[in-house]
Amino acid sequence: MNEVLEQTKWIKACRTTDIPENGGAAVKIGNEQIAVFNFTRTGKWYATQNECPHKKQMILSRGMIGCADNIPKVACPFHKKTFSLENGTCLSGEDYTIKTFPIKIENGYVYISINDEV
């Protein structure tokens, strides 16, 4: 009866109130830096790698979020490369991708799974 049906291993990352509305912040899980975004306008949450692949800078959590053609995105503050928050593809036409991670909200806390990428 105690078989594990859910394989995803969730890690408690922070309180929901730690992440600004319609913005992001970084959390540290082990040695990984994860950017967490609270897309209040749609009620959705996203987690991605914090590093922008362009110049390899730990920065994406400080980027502005928004949408392009209804795809939720984050813009890197350094050179304004934009990435889909849904699947990490670069929306400004370059061959970069960022990792995205499963995220869920429970009882006022943000949980992230960094074992398997979405």
Partner: protein
């Protein structure tokens, strides 16, 4: 059903299958694909991205299901070893036999490994397959110094990959006198070389590698000139040779430089056997690019489906635009043709590392070829001009600068003069006539709609700048006024939005988006509206921190490496010794690099996000205020020492500068604002290069506006002369508010002024003669902003909710562990990215 066998599952072999299926469906042919590699075809052009995190799966041309869905029998790990042309069968290395009616050879090429002693040592690799890259990645982990033989495109990519893997020193060894000898001339190569050296590569030219040294594994290379280098890893990228081994075995004819010899139908000497891609030799030429291979695939697929209307392959244009590491490179047509067959126009900028060469016919009418390094913006336009044999404009050199000089209408007129048949988008074959008709019929006002209606610009995207220009030129010719709308979320210009927000007294971004916009905003409209709100109310911007541009969001300047720089205000550049000491103490305590800025103040670099509030607390306690160096706001009012000390000074420029700076500090605008006050006509404060500048005269002050330093220097123009202080301030109030109300986002006063119809006379009318009747309103608005001023850093430090936002991680108090500095001249600098 006829049986087709495709030998080779690379990009071209795959493309052939895709094209055949799309033309014939699945019931006309029975297709079997024999691939040597363990996985289905993948995108070899973007192979290097395997190093930057893409997986082998990401690179696949199509997933395995695709072959199944289309009833293609894909057999990976199957190498074709022989062909029995009489029985029409192919044999594979594992002893299997397959019958064919048509055999398509798409065996590609293999890296050419020159005859150098020691290529069998461990740590020597080629750069062709995912397996190669896996081995390089594994070996590279323990390597410190690396080298690449071959300074062509692929070699340079391999070198970049080695750099990215963290090797300390990477050599590129080229046998010829220059890099990319087949695409670039000497000067172009020299510019490229400089760019690559800046990235950290060491380029060795004229080098003939003699031996690879080391016992079991490589430890270095020696050259024929007796020199040598150390190297723990070597990648050989010295060109390709066609995979044509089957030709000798089964008696197919070969081209002079290898490859299966094919005719214009891509048939080999056996008409039921075709060859396409890098293994084919057409008219003695082997095409090492993917585009000609795709063209060949198209010809064969078409002819098999519609033998009654044959297409032919007639060679291929080899113009290419490449995103090389760190720079863009392109070549068009014949890049090397010289006098007397052609005249050349050359532009060389060793500072910005740009080289452009146009080869035109002796009569100046047509473009024959071009080389572009460092700036390939005009590639699309030039390629069209070349391919369509379009008559060049009177001054062909304008092709080089067309997009730079916005004032020059030459470029846009030139576009209008193109014939309707001129191909604008070569990926989707859309010509100019079709685009102009679409603009007309659908009353298109933006490039995205052109893309949707015509498909132009949806392939490689290279023609997008041309679409933009064509749209602007077409609309202008029709007399349509093109509104510069903010972005996809707001169908308003900044000025319209400014008025809407002002009239409706809106205070939050969400309210504004809900009322006047659509979607969820973006990095363009958020800071633009944040700036409007600040210019209307001058409220603390961190109340809506996530709509602020990065610098504003943390009230500091984001620098390379992710740390911030801190600039306290030093009005007029005047500072007491005590305050200087405090800056020194703070910088020392927090390990900051210090530098005097161009605006007469002191910048402290390398501050961790977490340290910002504590740094500011100390500065504020010593009497400093925010310098707004991070904002699109008033920066500094520079001054010369003036009449208090200077023998020539007419008035006290320092006192006036301090007064002005304190008056406008914290004022946010569409872009940054810089000002200066000079005490006499010698102009030591350089006021005529500022957004507004004041110069003392015998009778009072002269007020200059809309100057600019920076990338596009522009002298300020005289707005009023010999006025007293009060009048001067009144005019500046009006001028700044008028600019703030009407400028587009991120537009400096100089650019705004250049677009202002009526020029300085009009501006003088509005500011001095109050021709619009708004002068009083402007002054009042400015007064509100001035009286609402508070030092935002003081508020941030004293308000716990705001102060709490300055945390790098929200789940631990740690600082960013990835921040790294390097020592330089007794201080630090950011680690190179």
């Amino acid at each position: 059903m006829k049986k087709i066998i495709v030998a080779g599952n690379g990009m071209v072999g795959y493309k052939f299958c895709e094209k055949l299926i799309s033309k014939s469906g699945t019931d006309k042919f029975q297709i079997t694909v024999l691939g040597e590699e363990p996985r289905p075809a993948y995108d070899r052009v973007h192979l290097s991205e395997y190093f930057s995190g893409k997986t082998a799966n990401d690179l696949l041309m199509a997933k395995e299901d695709w072959y199944k869905q289309n009833q293609i029998n894909l057999l990976t790990n199957h190498t074709v070893t022989n062909i029995d042309r009489f029985k029409k069968t192919v044999h594979t290395h594992n002893g299997k036999k397959y019958n064919y009616d048509y055999l398509i050879l798409a065996t590609g090429s293999a890296p050419f490994v020159p005859n150098i002693q020691g290529t069998d040592k461990e740590g020597v690799f080629v750069y062709r397959t995912i397996e190669d890259l896996e081995m390089i990645k594994a070996w590279g982990k323990k390597a410190k110094t690396g080298s690449v033989i071959g300074g062509g495109l692929l070699g340079l990519e391999a070198a970049k990959a080695l750099l990215d893997m963290g090797l300390q020193k990477v050599y590129v060894i080229e046998f010829a006198q220059r890099l990319m000898p087949r695409q670039l001339d000497e000067k172009a190569s020299a510019i490229l070389q400089k760019q690559l050296e800046k990235l950290g590569l060491t380029i060795l030219l004229n080098k003939n590698t003699r031996t690879i040294t080391g016992n079991q594994a490589i430890n270095g290379l020696t050259f024929s000139d007796e020199s040598s280098i150390e190297s723990d890893i070597l990648i050989i990228s010295a060109g390709i040779k066609a995979r044509d081994e089957l030709a000798d075995k089964c008696g197919l004819e070969k081209g002079p430089r290898g490859g299966f010899k094919v005719n214009h139908l891509l048939q080999t000497s056996d008409p039921s056997i075709y060859a396409i891609g890098e293994c084919a030799s057409y008219e003695g030429m082997i095409y090492g690019l993917v585009a000609p291979g795709y063209d060949m695939a198209e010809v064969v697929a078409h002819n098999l489906c519609q033998p009654e209307q044959t297409k032919t392959f007639n060679g291929c244009d080899l113009s290419t635009k490449l995103k090389l590491i760190g720079t863009d490179v392109a070549s068009i047509g014949n890049p090397f043709i010289e006098e007397p067959d052609a005249k050349t126009i050359v532009y060389e900028d060793k500072h910005k590392l740009i080289y452009q060469r146009l080869n035109i016919t002796a009569d100046g009418k047509y473009l024959l070829g071009a080389i572009l390094v460092g700036d390939t913006e005009q590639y699309g336009m030039m390629l069209q001009t070349y391919l369509n044999k379009i008559v060049l404009p009177q001054n062909p050199e304008n092709l080089l600068f067309a997009n730079k000089a916005t004032e020059s209408s030459d470029n846009k007129n030139y576009l209008l003069n193109l014939p309707d048949e001129a191909l604008i988008c070569s990926c989707e074959s859309v010509n100019k006539g079709a685009i102009c008709r679409a603009i007309d019929e659908h009353q298109i006002q933006d490039v995205n709609t052109i893309k949707k209606c015509t498909k132009a610009g949806t392939g490689c995207g290279g023609c997008t700048p041309m679409l933009k220009d064509l749209l602007a030129a077409t609309l202008k010719a029709k007399g349509v006024y093109l509104r510069n709308i903010l972005c996809e979320h707001f169908n308003y210009t900044r000025q319209e939005l400014f008025d809407l927000i002002r009239i409706n007294r809106l205070h939050t971004y969400d309210d504004i988006l809900n009322r006047f916009g659509r979607g969820h905003g973006c990095e363009v409209c958020k800071p633009a509206i944040a700036s409007i709100l600040a210019s209307l109310y001058n409220d603390n911007i961190l109340k809506q921190d996530t709509i602020q541009d990065t610098n504003d969001r943390f009230l500091a300047n984001l620098q390379k490496g992710g740390t911030y720089s801190v600039v306290p205000r030093i009005p007029g550049g005047e500072i007491t010794p005590d305050k200087l000491i405090v800056i020194g103490q703070v910088a020392k305590k927090y390990g900051l690099y210090t530098k005097i800025t161009g605006g007469q103040r002191i910048d402290m670099f390398g501050a961790h996000l977490n340290d910002l509030p504590a740094i500011w607390e100390e500065l504020i306690n010593a009497g400093f205020e925010s310098g707004h160096a991070y904002g699109k706001a008033l920066r500094t009012v520079k001054s010369c020492v003036g009449s208090t000390w200077c023998r020539f000074g007419l008035h006290d420029s320092v006192s006036f500068a301090i007064e002005i700076e304190n008056r406008y500090k914290g004022l946010r605008a569409p872009h940054k604002i810089k000002a200066a006050v000079s005490g006499c006509v010698r102009e030591c404060a350089e006021a005529q290069s500022k957004d507004f500048g004041i110069i003392a005269t015998e009778k009072g002050w002269n007020l200059y506006v809309c100057g600019n330093g920076g990338a596009k220097p522009q002298h300020a123009v005289l707005l009023a002369s010999d006025i007293d202080k009060e009048t001067c301030i009144k005019y500046i109030d009006r001028f700044l508010m008028f600019y703030i109300r009407t400028a587009d986002p991120l537009t400096r006063t100089a650019t705004w002024f250049n677009k202002l119809e009526g020029g300085i006379e009009y501006l003088r009318d509005v500011i001095i003669n109050d021709s619009l009747g708004i002068a009083e309103e402007l002054e009042k608005e400015m007064q509100i902003l001035i009286s609402n001023y508070k030092c935002e850093w003081k508020e941030a430090v004293e308000t716990p909710e705001i102060r709490n936002k300055f945390r790098y991680f929200v789940n631990t108090d740690e600082k960013d562990p990835t921040v790294q500095f390097e020592p330089m001249r007794d201080q630090i600098k950011a680690k190179e990215w």
